[in-house]
Amino acid sequence: MIDIDAEPGATLRFWRRPHPITMIARAALLALVAVQCVAATHDALCVVWAVLLGVAAVPALAMPRHRVVGPLSRLAEVLITCLATDVIVAHAAHGTPPLRGDSAAAATLPYLLVPFIAATLYRRNLEAVLLFVVAAAVLAGLGAADHRLSHYDYLLVTLLWLMLSGLAAAVTATFQRTLLDRRELPQPYAEATRLLTQLRSVARRLPGATLDPGGLAEHLIDDVRSAAPADRAAVLSASGGSRLVVLAQSGLDRIDWETDLDSDSAIGDAWATQQPVTASRSQARSHSGGDVSALVVPLVAGVRTVGLLVVEADNTGAYPGQVIERVTGLTAPAALRLEAALLFDEVRSLATNEERQRLAREIHDGVAQELVMVGYGIDNALAVLPEDAKDALDELRTLRGEVTRVITELRLSLFELRTEVDRHGGLAAAIAEYARAVGASGGLRVNLSLDESTARLPAAVEAELLRIAQEAITNARKHAGASNLWVTCVVDPPFAQIEVSDDGHGIADQRPEGRYGLAIMAERAERIRGRLEISPRSPNGTTVAVVLGTPLRRGASSG
C-alpha cells in the first residue's frame, strides 16, 4: 500500500476528514474526564483540564495526517493528561469514591486511549510506542517527585490504564493490518494498473531499443563471448508450445539449432531442470561432427525459464566449473531483462491486435455499410431514370463505379486489419494468402516464391514482417499500376528476407520518408531492427525488401 503522505501533490490530503473513531472517542472521553475531574476534586475549576485536552485535540482533528502537526498534537494530549493526573490526584483527598486520593488517577488516565489509538489508526505504530514510553516516563517522574510511587493505589491505577491503553493500541494495529491485507489481496486491476504504470515509466526511461528481445539477446552473446570460448552461440526463447525460436546467434556458418524442447538433448535437459548443462555433442542439427563442447544455460527469471543460452566450442572440455560460473553470472541479470522485453512485446502485440480488430469492426459497421447503401441508392436511381436521360445515366454509372471502387478498398483494408500470422501456418503462408487475395481483387498476377525453414521467428517479429509485406503489396496494387506482383519470402531464423516487386511505373521518390506508407514500413522495420530497401526494378517497377539479420553461409561455400 502506498503511503498516502508520500504521494506527490497530496498536501490537500492533510486536511482530509479525521478518522471517525478518533472523533467519537475524543468527545466521549473528554466528557468523562470533565465529569470525573469534578467528582474527584469537588472543584468546578478542574473542568479546565478537559478544556485544555480539547484545545490540544484541535490540530490533531484538523490535520491528523500531517507529518508534524498530527504527532505533536497527540504528544501534547499525552503530556496534558499526565499533568492533569498529577494535579487531580494531589487535590482528590475528599473526592467521591472511588475517585478519592491516589485512585483519582483514574479520572483522567482513560484519555490516554485517544492519542494511542489515533496514532495506530493513521498507521504510525512507532509514534504510538513512543507516546506510550513518554506517558510512562512522565507519570513515573511526576509520581516520584510527589513521593507517590510507593502508594499501592496510585501504582495500580496508573499501571492499569497504561496497560489498557497500550493494549488497545496494539489490538487496533493488528486489526488494521488484517483489514488492509484483505483489501489488498483480491485487486487484480489495482495491481495491474500499478504494474503497468511502473512499466510505462520504466519503458520511457529506457534508451531506444532496450526493450527489444533481439537486441538484448545479442548483447548477452557479446558479453558471454568475452567470458567464455564460443565458436557458436545462440539465445533461444520459447514461442508457445514446445518449440524454441532463435532470438540471436553468432557463428561463421548458418546453424540449425535444436528447437524441440521435447528432444533428448542438452537443450531439453537444461529447460526441464533449470540448471546449466554441458554436453560433448553439438546442439546444432547441422553440425558435421568432430570434437565439441556445448554449454546450455537456462535463462531463469524468478521461477520461469524464459529462454536458453547455448555456447559451443570446437574442442573438448572448454567449459570447466569456473567458466560456467562466469557465464551464469552474466545470464542471471540478462534473464530478467529478456523476460521484461518479451512481456512488453506480448502486451504491445495484444494491444495492437485488439485495436486493429476494433478498427475493423468500426469501419465494417460504419462507413462501409453507409457506402453500400449509397451504392444501392444509385442502382435504384439508374433503374428508374428514363432511357433518354443519357447524360444523367452516364454520370450515375461513373459514380456507381467510384462507389464500388471505394467499397472494394474498404473491404481490402478490413481484410488487412483482420489478417494475423497463424500460430501453425507460419509467416510465408500468411503473406501468400494476403498476396493472393489482393491480387485476385486488384487484377494482379501474383508470383510467389516461398522458402520457409521449419524454425520460427518470434511472434512479434512475424507480425511486423507481415504488416510490412501487406503495406508493400497494397502500395503495388494502389499506386504502381502494375500487372505482375512478385513476392519472395525467405525465412531462416534469425535471418529473414521479404521482397515485394511490381512491374508498374515505379515511384518517383525512393527515400523512405517520401511517402506515408513507406515511412510506416521503415518504422516497422526499425522496430525489429531490420533494413528496408527500396529500389527500382529493371526494366520498370519497384522492389521493396525488408531484411532481418544476415544470411549465413550453408556449409563451406554459398550455393
Binding site: V372, G377, D379, T404, R411, A428, G559
Partner: protein, 222 residues
Amino acid sequence: MSTNATPTARTKVLLVDDHDLIRKGLRHAFERDRQFEVVGEAATVAEAVRQAGALQPDVVIMDLRLPDGSGLEATRALRKSSNTMGIVVLTMYAGDDQLFGALEAGASAFVPKTAPADEVVAAARHAASAPSAFTAADLAEAMKRRLAPSGPQLSPREGQVLRLLADGMSVAGIAKQLFVSESTAKTHISKLYEKLGAANRAQALMTALRLGLLEAPDAPKF
C-alpha cells in the same frame, strides 16, 4: 426446377440486414422486378429465424455480421429446416474463408456488398430456382487458391536438388551438376530432408511425390 415469373406466383423474399437503409435499398431493387415480392425484413439472427419460420419465404438475403451472431449460424439453422429455401449470403468481408464458410453452411449464393443491387437480385433468382447449387462470382479463383500447395515450400535450388535426387544422382553428381562444393550439396540435401520430414532419399522422394512437388518420374531435365 424452374419457377416462371407470373404475377400470381411471385417469389417471396426475406431481407436480413441490421442496417435499415440497406434493407430499404434492396427492397426497392426487388420491387422493381415483377418476379419478387419482399414479404419481410429482419435485423437479427433470432428475428431472421423466426420470420423465416412464419413467412416461409422462397429466398432469404442474409447479411453475415448481425448484432446477435453470425449470418452463417442463421444460414445453417435455416438450411436445417428447409432444403428448398434459397439463401443468398451478402457480405462486406473479403477473403476466401467467408466464401467457403457460406458454402459449408448451405448457402445458395455468395455476393459481396461491392456488387450492384441488380446482382443481388440475380443471385436471388438463381437461389430460388436452384437452392442447393452454390454460386459466387469468385468461386473458380477461390477454389484454385485453396488448392494451391500449402505443404512445405522449397527454394528454387532445393527444387533442383530434389529433381536430381529423383534422377538417382549421387551427392558428388549433384554437386557437379550445380557447380557447388560437395558439402554445399550435402547441406541442401539435409535441408530438403528436414523440410519434407524425411530421414533418407526414398522417404524424401515419396513425400515429394505425394505433395505434388515432383512431377511424373519421366519429367524432362531442366
